[in-house]
């Protein structure tokens, strides 16, 4: 199954003549990367994501946009009038562009940290449930059925509500609500792989559970985790906006969510630049993550290869 789809070596299949040219470096990851590289738009997405990550990092380190809190002009100055605040200013006369840049930090970290919370839980529980089956599986399935039977937005709001303030809450709330999907996926995939012959082959050479799970099965589901993460990022970034709207978002530093929330009132007075700035910034990175997610799926998930 796997081989058939990944190699186009139909002509070379003959035993006698099979002489695949010796490649310097060849692994599924490398192949996937090569495939990804061919896709111009995907490469552009990688670059955009990379750029955002860089900006986020620089702003976290205080190298760029550290002066977002500075008053640089009059309140609600219109954009494109002054180079110091090319995208205009907000209510306090702070530069909108600087806030947008600073907001990158929140957006990227929300995606990153919530993934860092969701992935270990989702992969851990999913793998254990799928691999061991039986009672353990029942308990884990019960657990995530319970969690998923509560509407996500309710769970998100309650967690945010109870933890209260700020960015940590956003991380935790998003992390804790998004592991379920991943867990279910990983469980199914591990169950499938568990019965694959290569795992039984590992059994036959005397490999224990830990080895079978960690060394054999998990590497074969990593692509799912990667695809999922790229999508989790964009979900997280979008959720931050909603949380901000409900008033459970970030405080004390600018985020795209709070900027859009501000715009709710500003729009009627004709102040559209905060909304535009944040929306465009968000649009670009969410778009990039979406495209990247698709491209990764095509590149890493051989099942869908050639079907884009």
């Amino acid at each position: 199954m796997f081989g058939q789809t990944t190699s186009a070596d139909g002509i070379l299949v003959n035993e006698v003549t099979a002489q695949a040219p010796v490649k310097k470096k060849s692994s599924l990851w490398y192949d996937a990367w090569k495939r990804l590289k061919r896709d111009k738009i995907a490469v552009a997405s990688v670059i955009i994501v990379g750029l955002y990550a860089l900006i986020g990092l620089l702003s976290a380190l205080g190298i760029v946009a550290a002066d977002w809190n500075q008053e640089v002009g009059p309140s609600y100055a219109a954009p494109f009038e002054n180079w110091d605040y090319i995208l205009g200013t907000d209510i306090f006369g702070r530069s909108v562009i600087t806030k947008v840049i600073h907001g990158t930090q929140i957006a990227m970290s929300v995606g990153l940290v919530s993934s860092l919370i969701a992935i270990p839980i989702g992969v851990g529980l999913g793998a254990i449930a799928g691999y061991f089956g039986g009672k353990v599986d029942e308990v884990i399935v019960w657990f995530y059925t319970t969690v998923s039977s509560i509407p996500g937005i309710m769970l998100l709001m309650s967690i945010a509500f109870i933890l209260g303030k700020g960015i940590t809450t956003v991380y935790i709330a998003l992390g804790l609500t998004s592991w379920v999907g991943l867990c279910r996926l990983i469980r199914g995939e591990v169950m499938k792989h568990k019965n694959r012959e290569y795992v039984q082959a590992a059994d036959a050479i005397g490999a224990g559970h830990t080895r079978k799970l960690l060394k054999h099965i998990l590497p074969n589901v990593t692509h799912i985790v990667i695809i999922n993460t790229s999508l989790q990022f964009q979900v997280a970034i979008k959720s931050e906006v909603i949380l901000s709207y409900i008033g459970l978002g970030v405080s004390g530093q600018p985020s795209w969510g709070t900027m859009i929330d501000d715009a709710k009132l500003e729009l009627a007075r004709g102040v559209w630049w905060q909304l535009a700035g944040a929306t465009v910034a968000m649009f670009l990175v969410v778009l990039a993550f979406n495209i990247l997610g698709d491209a990764l799926r095509d590149a890493l998930d051989p099942k869908l290869k050639g079907k884009s």
Binding site: W142, F143, T145, T146, V147, S148, S149, I150, P151, G152, I153, M154, M157, S158, I159, F161, I162, Q234, K238, V241, I242, Y245, I246, I260, D261, A263, K264, L267, A268, L275, T279, M282, F283, L284, V286, L287, N290, I291, D294, L304, K307
Partner: protein
């Protein structure tokens, strides 16, 4: 037959552990982690005595276990009592809220699902061609804009400036509600078209490369028949998986839409309850959603057997 009855009974019995779990979870969230609601309920002039009195009345002085049992009891009897904040009967609050939520979400859901499926089939037909690329890119672009932006812009332009729709509000009864929910429904559809088309397209493409499609082509069937008859029927399973589990959550309507369009639905009720520490209401909504979720997954399983003869309920 017998085994499917067994299956259905088993699945319904599964409600018990799940409900116990849901109760434990919300109990943990609202009774253990969240603090004392009495100060808020009594308002700005609250006194210590009154707070103590109210705590007693609300049963907050009982042991945690006894309180948990109360939650469980209400979950299994569906008797949620009265709201702490508004003192209203919760069952009637939910009834009143469910109607607007459902009149908004069900039409929106049905229209958006059908539209997206049809679009997806069309896109699948033109796979690899310009139109496919165009719709795909449009979908992703549509998904990348925050829903808040759509609401703000649509309400301002379509309802206010062009006067095509009511700006906000709601009236019970047909056809009056239609005046109020049309715009929110349109926004809902616009919001869901992007992700839905994309998802259904993937599903349909998954099917299009199956061997049976080749067989159908070899029979001389036209592409239209193949797509709408052979492929779509097979794609129903993943489509059902994706859509049916959304249904119970339709109950909550769309939170943002409800509050911007002043639709008195359950979504708005949830936010209000949250903002006034009205735990009985939150518990009721959560428990009902959980029950709906389990029942709908069961319905989903039954639907599977209808669309796919290979699936058996066991």
């Amino acid at each position: 037959m017998n085994s499917s009855v067994n299956y259905i009974i088993r699945r319904l019995l599964y409600l018990i552990p799940v409900l116990l779990g849901v109760c434990a979870l919300i109990f943990l969230l609202f009774n253990v982690v969240a603090g004392d609601p009495t100060a808020l309920l009594l308002g700005k002039h609250a006194s210590v005595e009154q707070m103590a009195e109210l705590r007693e009345q609300l049963g907050l002085n009982k042991s945690l276990f006894a309180q948990y049992l109360d939650v469980v009891k209400s979950a299994f009897t569906f008797d949620f009592g009265r709201s702490w904040s508004t003192k209203q009967q919760i069952s009637s609050m939910i009834m009143q809220g469910a109607i607007p939520s459902l009149t908004l979400s069900i039409p929106a859901f049905i229209i958006s699902t059908f539209t997206s499926i049809i679009f997806a089939v069309i896109v699948a037909y033109y796979r690899g061609k310009g139109i496919d690329l165009f719709i795909r890119v449009t979908c992703i672009a549509m998904m990348s804009i925050s829903s808040l932006v759509y609401i703000l812009v649509f309400q301002n332009v379509l309802a206010f400036q062009l006067g095509l729709f009511e700006i906000s509000g709601y009236e019970y009864g047909f056809p009056n509600f239609l005046y109020y929910v049309s715009l929110p429904i349109i926004i809902w559809i616009v919001l869901s078209l992007g992700p839905d088309i994309r998802f259904y397209r993937t599903i349909i493409l998954d099917e299009i490369y199956q061997d049976y499609v080749r067989t159908a082509r070899a029979k001389g069937l036209s592409e239209k028949v193949i797509l709408f008859k052979h492929v779509l029927r097979n794609a129903m399973i993943p489509i059902l998986t994706y859509t049916v589990v959304q249904l119970p959550f339709l109950l909550l309507g769309a939170l943002l839409l409800e509050s911007f369009f002043a639709i008195p639905g359950l979504g708005g009720m949830t936010i209000t309850a949250l903002n006034s520490s009205d735990f009985p209401v939150l518990k009721a909504i959560t428990i009902l959603s959980a029950v709906a979720y389990i029942i709908f997954t069961l319905i989903q399983d039954i639907l599977y057997t209808l669309v796919d003869p290979r699936v058996k309920l066991q």
